[in-house]
Symmetry: C5
Subunit: 344 residues, 5 copies
C-alpha cells in the first residue's frame, strides 16, 4: 500500500483529456469511462449510481464554471463549496455537510525542478467520491490499477476506503518531497564546507521557502485525518477508521520531518556564516604574516638608504653582510613567533 | 464574491459628505439616503425600521459626540460601547448584548504609500447593521452595488448576511496588503543581493512593523469570526453561519501568510548581514593581494637602495636585470598562491 | 473615564500625611477624613459602615505592623493575607474569601526618570474597599474628584464599581509607561542610525528590563480582570461586570503593546550590530583604497631609488617624467577599479 | 514566616549524627530524640504514634538500604517508592497512595561557591511526615525552632501544616539562589563593559547551567503545590490548603524570576559580542589612521629618493623645505578628514 | 531494577540465530526454546499457551514476510499492524485493539561510534508478549536472566509486567545515550576553548542531529507510557500501572535532559563564534602594533634617503645619531600607547 509514483507518470497516458473521468465499481464489476459533455442534463444523471456500487468522479484539470455548476446541481452541493473549489488560495480543511464531507488538501510534488502545489478538492458521499484538481496530472495512478484488479481489497469496500487511498497517496507524495529535500540539504552541507559562496545562503533560503510551503499545508491536514479517524461521522465506516488513523500517524511523522529539516537548515546558516568568518581570519593571517615580516626589514633597508654624511656602518666592509644577517634573524624570529602561535 | 477594491474608489463619489448614510432594503425595495441632521428627535426615528426590511446605518467619518449619543439613545446602546467607539486604541473583539452584537475590527489598506489602519465598529441587531468608521473612505463600495441589484442574494437575507459581506470585505483587504507586502519582500531580496546598503535593514524593519500591525489586528478577529460561525447566537441565522466559518478560514489563511512573511523577512536580515561580511572579505582580499605582492618587492628595492660602500651586486652589469627578474618571480609566486587558494 | 495623571500630582496636597484616609459616600452624602490613630479600638469601629453607604479605606504609605493587625482584626482578614500585604515580592493575583476578594496589582509609573513599581493590595467587601500601597503617592487623584461630585455615576454604585475605577486607573498607568517607552524606542532608532556607540546597546538593555518588569506584572493581572468580569462572584454585581471585561480588554491590549515593543527592541539590536559591521567596512575601505593606490607607487619609487651602477632608465632625460606618468596611470587605474566596484 | 537560613547553619550542631531524628509534638507536648538503631523491630514501633500527636521522622543523610527497607515495612510503603528514594535522578513529583502522599522535591543551595541540589523525599501520612534527604544539612533549622515553641501555630495543626512549612522553606531557598544569581549577573554586566575577555562568555554559560538546573526543578514543583492546594486529597486539610496555594504563588514567582534572569543573560551575550566587534573597530581605526597618514608621505619621500639624473626639484634650494611643507599639508588634510568623520 | 547493558552484550551469545525465540514461564516453570520453522501450521500452535503461564515470543532480526503473515494469522493481528511492523519509518505510538495492545518504540544505542535507532514492535496480549525488532541485538539481556530466576518478581506477574520491564530497558538505554552525549559536549567545550577549528561546528551539528533523533523518538513515547499507566485498558493490570507511571516519569526526565543538552549545544555555537572573533582581534592587534610602530619610522628613514642637494641635516656630524634617537622615541611612544590601551 505504498503509492510512490513519478509525477510525470500520472500525466502521461491521460494527457490532453479534458473530460470528466468516471469509475464505477463493486466487488464484481468495474467500468471506467469519460464524459466529454458539460450538458447539465447529462451530468444530472451522474448522481444516479448503480445499486451496490461506488462511483469515483474525477475532474483532473482546470474546471469550467458551467461544469462545476452542473455538478453542484446534480449532487446538491452548497454554493459556498463551489466557490471554495474555484478559490485555490485555501488551507486544507474538512467540512461536514448533511450528505457528504468536503475536504481540501494540497498535492505537492516536483515537476522537474520546481515544486508544484496543486489545490485538491474531495467530496465524499455515501456512495461516491468526487475529486477536483487544478492542473493536469495527479498521484493517483496506482489507485486506478487497484480498482481494475478484482482481488483488491478496495473493491469490497465503500467510497470511504477509496477516500483513504487518495489521502494516503497525497501524504506519501509529501514524503517524496521531504526525502528529496533532505538529500539536497546534505549535499549543500558538503558544498558549504568546500567553498564560500553567497549562493549557499540563497539556496538555504529556497529550501526554507519549500519547507514553509509544506508545513503550512501539512499542519491543517492533521486535523482532517484526525476528524475522519474518529467515530464522529457516519460517512467513514468503523472498519475504515483505523486506516485513517494510520494516515494521521503518517502526517504527524511528516510534520516531525519538516521540523527536523528546519533545524538542519538553520544550522547550515550558522555553518556558512562561520565559514565566512574563518575565511576572513585566514585572509588576515596571510596579510599579517607578510606585513609583520617585511615591514621591519624594509625599515632596516630604509635606515641604511639614508644619505647622512657620517654613518659609520656604511663604510664597514662586512656592513652589508651584517645587515642581511640581522634581517634574516628578524624574519626568523617572526616566523618562530607565528609558529608558536600556530598561525601556520 | 470577491470584493477587492481600490481604496480610493470608495472615497470618490461620496467625498466631503459628512452626514449619516442610510440604506433600507428588502427583496423588492431599495432606498438609499443621507441624514444631515444630528437632532436627537430625527435620529430617534432611525430605530423604526420598515416592516420586513433591513436597515444599514453607516457613519463613515469622525463622529461627533452629539450624534453618537443620539444614536446610542435611539438604539439603546450601553454607554461603555459609546466610549469604546470613541477610543480607537482597541483590539478587534465581539461582545454579545441582549439585542445586538457589538463588533470591533480594523480596516487596513494602503493610502498611497502609507499603511492606514482604520478603527471600525459594527452593531448588528435583528433588523439593522450600524457601522461607524474613523476616517473618510471604506472598502464597502462593491457591497453598495450588490444592495442596489434586485437579484443579489443579499437582498433576500437578513442583516447578518450583510454583516458577513462587510467582514469579508475587510478580510479581503488584508490579503491585498499582504500581497503588496509579499511583492515588496521579493523586490527587497533582489536589491539586497545587488548592493549593500544600511537602507535595506531599515526597510526590513519597516516591513516588520507593518506585519506586527497586521498580526495584532488579524489574530483577535479570528475569535470574532469563530464565535459568529458557531450556533451560539440567534443574531446570526443558521443559514449565514457557513459563510462566517468561511471568513474564519480566510482569516486563518491570512495569519499563516503573515507568519510566512515574517520568516521570509528574518531570512532577509541574515542575507543582508552575510552580504556585509562578504563585502568585508572582498575588501580585505584586495588589500591583502596588493600588499603581499608589493611589500616583499618594495623590501627588495629597499635593500638595493642601501648606501653601503661594499655591496658587490650593485657593480654587476646584469644586477639590475636580475633584481627585476627576482621581483617578477616573487610576484608570480604570490599570484600563483592566491590562484591556488581561489582568491581570484 | 480616562484617569491619566501626573504621578507627582497624587502626592502633592496629601504629602507627609501618614494617617488612614477614609471616604464614606452614597448617592446623597460624601465625607472624607483621616484617622491618625493606630489604636485597635478606634480601628474596630471602621467595619461599622453607615447604612446604604460605601466606605473606601486607603493606607497610602508604608504600613505599620500594629495598624495592619488592627485592620485585620476589624475586618476579619486571614493572617495569610496580612502576610501577603507585607511581602512586596508577589505576582498580581486574586483570591476569593467568604466575605471579600483579595486582589494584588502593581502600580507602575515614572517618578522623574526612574520607573517605580508599587505593590498595591485591594480588599473588596460587600460595602467597603480597602487599598494598601507601599509608598506615598498613587494614581487615584481623579477618582477622589469623582467621588466628591454628586452627579458622578460612581456615587450610585457599590464598592465593586469603585474597585473597577481603581483597577482601570492602574491599567491606564501602564499605557502611559508604554507610550513613553515607545517614544524612547523611536528616538533610540534615530540615534543608532546617526552614530555608533556602545551606549545604544546598554539603553536597549535598559528598555528590555523595563518591558520585562511590565510584562511580568501585566500578564497575571489579565486573570484577575477575567475572573472579576465573569459571573462567578457575588461581590461583583452583574451591572459592573461589563466594565471589568472592558478593563480585561485594555490589559490584553497592553500585553500586545509590550510584545510589539519587544520585537521593535530586538530589531534595534540587529540594527546596531549591523551599523558596527558597516562602520568596520567603511574603515577598511579607506585603508584599502589608500594602501592599494600608494603601495605600488612606493614600489616604483623604490625601484628607481636602487643604487645599481647600470640602470639605463636613470640616465634618460625624460626618465623622471616617465615615472611620474606611469605612477599617475597606475593610481588612475586603481581609482577606476574602485569606482567600478562602487567603493566610493 | 520567612525561613531564609544559612545552609551551613542547619548542618552545624547536628553534624556527624547519622541516626534517625524523631520529633513528636502536639499542642502541649514536644519531644525530640534520635534513634541510632536500624533494627527492624525498633523501627516497626515508629508507626505507633502517641494519641493526638504528630511525628516527624527525618533521615538527613545517605540512607542505608536496611534502614530504608525497615522504614518501608513499618509504614507499608510500596517498593517502587523505596526505589524512587534511592534513585536521585528524578524530577519533583507528587503521588497519591491510599494512606499517604509521596512527594519529591529538590533542595537547592550554595555550599560555598558551588551550587548543591539535594534530592528530598517526603511521605505525608495522616499523623506523620517522613523526610529523607541525600546529604547532611538541610534548610529546616527554623522549623525545628518553631516546633519547640509552645505558642507556635504549627503545634496546633496536623502534619499537613508541617509539610507546608517544609515545602515553603525549600521554595524560600530557591529565592536565595536566584537573588545571588541576579547579583552576579549585574556584576558580570559591569565587568563586560569594562574589559573584553573570553572568560565572560564562560561565566554566562555557567550561569545558564545554574538557571537550567533551577528551572528543571522548579517547574514540576508547581504541579505538586497546585495539587496539594486543591480540595482533591484528604491528607491536606481545608485549613491548610490556602497555605499551599500561597506556596504555589511563590513557585510561579520563582519561575518568573528564572525567566527574567534568562533574558538578562542572553542580553549579556549580545553585549559581549558587540564589545568584541567594537574593539576590532577601534584596532582597525588606529591602523587605518596611522597607515593612511604615513603611506602617502613615505611615497613622497620615496619619489625624491630616486636616483634619476635629471630631477629638477632636487637642485632647488627650497626643494627640501617645500617637500616638508607638502608632507605636513597632506598629513593635516588626512587628520582633518578623520576629524570630520569623527574617528577621533 | 536498572537494566543498563552493553549493546554488544545482547548480540553475543545469540548471534546468527535467525529463528523465533520463545520463553514460557509461570511462578514454578520456565522454558526457553527456538522455533526454526516458518511453517504456518507450526506457528498456529504458538497461540495455544500453557494454562496459567505467560509466553514471550521474540523475533530479533529482519522478519520474513511469510513468518510475519503466519504470526498474524495465529494471533489474529490486523493487516494494518503487519504493514506497520514492516514500515520502519514510524513514530512511537500505542494502539488499542480488542485483544491486545500494539506498541511501537525506538531502541537507541551506540554500536561502536555510530548511533543506532532500531524500530521495535510490541504486541501485548492477555497471556503473551510478542516483540519484533529490526536488526540483531537488543537491550533485553538482563530481562532474560530475571525470567530464569525463580524468585524474581516478574515470574509471579502477567505479561503486562514483562512489557513494563521491556519498556523500562528501552528508556534506560536512552539515558545511556544521553549520558554519553553529555560527556561529549563537555569535552567539546574544552576543545573549543583550546583551539579554533571549523571541525567544532561540524561536531556541534552532529550532536544536534543525535539530539533531534532522540527527541523525535522520546516525545511520542511519553503518550504511550501515559496511556498504559492510566486505568483505561484492562490489558495492563492495576498492580502494574504504578510501574508504568514510573516509566512515564523516566521519559519526562529524559526529555528534560535532551532539552538541557540542546541549550548547552546552542551555547557552544556562540562560544565557537566568539572564539573566531577573538582570534581575528588578536591577529589584527599584531598587525596593527607592528605596522603603527614601523610605518612612521620607515617614513623618517625615507625622508633622509631623499636626494635633495640642500638638506642641512645630512651634513651634521650627529645627524645620524639624532635620527636614531628620534626613531627610538617614536617607537617608545607607540609602545606606551599600546600598553596604556592594554593591547599587550
Ligand atoms: Mg502507505
Ligand atoms: Mg491534477
Ligand atoms: Mg502512507
Ligand atoms: Mg500554521
Ligand atoms: Mg500543534
Ligand atoms: Mg506512522
Ligand atoms: Mg514534535
Ligand atoms: Mg548571527
Ligand atoms: Mg480594548
Ligand atoms: Mg471610513
Ligand atoms: Mg473573501
Ligand atoms: Mg497576539
Ligand atoms: Mg478559505
Ligand atoms: Mg494558528
Ligand atoms: Mg477606561
Ligand atoms: Mg502609594
Ligand atoms: Mg482604561
Ligand atoms: Mg508570554
Ligand atoms: Mg494573547
Ligand atoms: Mg540533607
Ligand atoms: Mg515563603
Ligand atoms: Mg507551563
Ligand atoms: Mg506569592
Ligand atoms: Mg509568566
Ligand atoms: Mg549575533
Ligand atoms: Mg528503572
Ligand atoms: Mg534487535
Ligand atoms: Mg528506568
Ligand atoms: Mg509536546
Ligand atoms: Mg522522574
Ligand atoms: Mg520542561
Amino acid at each position: 500500500m505504498d503509492f510512490k509514483k513519478n509525477p510525470e507518470d500520472g500525466t502521461n497516458g491521460r494527457n490532453e483529456c479534458e473530460a470528466i473521468e468516471i469509475i464505477d465499481y463493486d466487488a464484481q464489476n468495474y467500468r471506467a469511462y469519460h464524459l466529454k459533455t458539460a450538458d447539465p442534463n447529462d451530468l444530472a444523471g451522474l448522481s444516479v449510481i448503480p445499486e451496490g456500487g461506488v462511483r469515483w468522479i474525477n475532474v483532473d484539470a482546470q474546471c469550467e464554471d458551467g461544469l462545476l455548476r452542473a455538478l453542484g446541481d446534480a449532487f446538491q452541493i452548497h454554493p459556498l463549496i463551489i466557490e471554495n473549489i474555484r478559490n485555490r488560495n485555501q488551507r486544507p480543511k474538512i467540512e461536514e455537510y448533511k450528505d457528504f464531507l468536503y475536504i481540501v488538501a494540497k498535492m505537492i510534488y516536483y515537476a522537474g525542478d520546481s515544486l508544484v502545489s496543486e489545490h485538491m478538492n474531495f467530496i465524499l458521499g455515501y456512495r461516491y467520491v468526487i475529486t477536483l484538481g487544478e492542473t493536469k496530472g495527479d498521484v493517483f495512478g496506482r489507485i486506478r490499477s487497484f480498482l481494475e484488479n478484482e482481488s483488491a481489497h478496495v473493491r469490497t469496500c465503500g467510497p470511504d476506503y477509496l477516500m483513504y487511498l487518495l489521502l494516503d497517496a497525497i501524504v506519501d507524495g509529501y514524503f517524496d518531497v521531504l526525502e528529496t529535500l533532505s538529500d539536497q540539504i546534505d549535499e549543500l552541507e558538503e558544498r558549504i564546507m568546500e567553498s564560500n559562496s553567497q549562493e549557499h545562503l540563497l539556496q538555504i533560503r529556497e529550501f526554507k521557502k519549500t519547507l514553509l510551503k509544506l508545513n503550512r499545508n501539512i499542519w491543517p491536514l492533521r486535523d482532517v485525518a484526525s476528524l475522519m479517524g474518529k467515530e464522529s461521522t457516519e460517512l467513514v465506516r468503523a472498519t475504515t477508521e483505523p486506516y485513517l488513523r494510520d494516515v494521521y500517524n503518517h502526517i504527524v511523522q511528516a510534520i516531525d520531518t519538516t521540523e527536523t529539516c528546519r533545524e538542519l537548515l538553520s544550522g547550515l546558516t550558522d555553518l556558512h556564516l562561520s565559514n565566512t568568518s574563518n575565511r576572513l581570519n585566514e585572509i588576515m593571517k596571510v596579510l599579517t604574516i607578510i606585513s609583520t615580516i617585511f615591514i621591519p626589514l624594509s625599515f632596516l633597508a630604509g635606515v641604511y638608504g639614508m644619505n647622512f654624511k657620517y654613518m659609520p656602518e656604511l663604510g664597514l666592509r662586512w656592513g652589508y653582510g651584517a645587515v642581511w644577517a640581522l634581517m634574516l634573524a628578524v624574519a626568523g624570529a617572526m616566523v618562530c613567533y607565528f609558529k608558536k602561535k600556530k598561525w601556520f
